[in-house]
Symmetry: D2
Subunit: 153 residues, 4 copies
């Protein structure tokens, strides 16, 4: 496992598909967000948020995301995609993502994702359930990370 992902509690292997590339013959920018998303969903699964979603109609939505491309990934390659929570607010948390190319053993991209808890029926933000909050802290602590508080801008 790459040192570049040492503090990531969730790292997912993601095989680049030939069709992920665009006419510039490297992986299209939108695909990096697909890789982020895949790791994020896997992180959500660890939080058992789907119970809240089906029972209370509460769940996470993506409010904002960004990516800085470090070098152009090409097919074939197998990526390691990391997700971790770095800040925690009342109704939201901030995740950090990293993508490492195994072929080049090099950081390919990094970014973040602002996740907000929503009541899907009303469309309003809600406080994160205590169990979810506790689970995030537990996961990050086990990876040796401290989660900061979050000042809503």
């Amino acid at each position: 496992m790459s040192d570049l992902l040492a503090h990531y509690p969730l790292v997912m292997e993601m095989v680049v598909r030939w069709g992920d590339m665009d006419a510039f013959q490297h992986v299209n920018n939108t695909m990096y967000f697909r890789y982020f998303e895949s790791a994020r969903i896997a992180y959500f699964q660890r939080l058992d948020v789907s119970d809240f979603t089906s029972n209370q109609g509460i769940g996470p939505i993506l409010a904002a995301t960004s990516c800085r491309f470090r070098f152009p990934v090409t097919f074939p390659d197998t990526l390691l995609v990391g997700a971790r929570a770095i800040q925690l607010g009342d109704d939201r948390f901030l995740m950090e993502h990293r993508i490492v190319s195994q072929r080049h053993n090099r950081l390919a991209a990094e970014g973040d994702a602002l996740v907000v808890m929503l009541d899907y029926r009303t469309g309003k933000k809600v406080s994160m359930p205590h169990v979810v909050r506790a689970r995030i802290l537990e996961i990050e602590e086990a990876a040796g990370n401290e989660v900061e508080g979050m000042i809503v801008s």
Copy 2:
């Protein structure tokens, strides 16, 4: 409107996105099926099937589809995508699709799609509601088409 789509009751304009192209620098094969799908969904909307879906949990699913590529579409181009029903069975119908490049005024692709009516709760095939069947015949007749019966293979 192209003669190539003369008998199509539904023709949809579809702008090619740069990102629809792949590393061969023409539109990726999966995108032609996306264009077919878009026209098919528009056709479904004319059938008002969504009422059946929300009230009775009955709706169309794609059972099979094919595409013959006539020439490689590239960005920029605006396509005309046709959908029509050519055969009608008890629980299914067969659609025919055509994609015409406006830039080249030429048939870019053609294909078909086998659509089956399903009870989403049980996953079993069901007879097409009479209103849907009547609506298909009405749409096709208005376009001067005769819809054949369908022998299930």
Copy 3:
């Protein structure tokens, strides 16, 4: 045309495809970046950068991008996607993007894109050709915009 895009020299109409939606039944986050990309490519076309690309092997690449999602777009909808240059450095420029839903007459998303000029053969950054720089200033001036200088971080 929406006031929300008043200062955008390039605004592109983009029809949402049914397949742009994901399992949450609204447009997938990666698709917003596809919409940004489409508008950006159209902006590039106005800059006539493709001449530099084919003759000198110099062209723009996306170094970073971000998106803030304002409300979830769903099918059917037609979007207006804006692109404009707001900062200009020696070898790069910063673009701002906006997506307006025509169905809801409302800002759906906004974001930015850092574009860097690259020598495709060496993979090194290069100064933007004077003609390209002049063209950007001309386009933005015509839209009543002032383009700032850019301090490279």
Copy 4:
């Protein structure tokens, strides 16, 4: 390895991405063609066609493809995607694809792909290089398959 893929010389593992699903909450039909494509490209790599492509400008293109969907794949799942050549003509060959769900140990889809050898510069069909033809026969024979001749329709 599934019996369903016993005669496939090339079987590729493909992890379903959450974003492969559409608003019907199962994998979108276009994605099955992406899976086929991925296996097909891997098969092409075994044929060493890329040498012909770079040296002589000769390479395979997809002329037609079809898919029959057996049951709806959902995330999470890991698929096995098979590719094999079943017919061989002068300037073309026909491939057969299968997708097996590992979660359900069941055939999810099957289809085919007609591949034609093209001179990329002229856009004309060309006879398949002898080495490529020999390589296909060798690969299929090693898997216990007989490759039929192909009558061009």
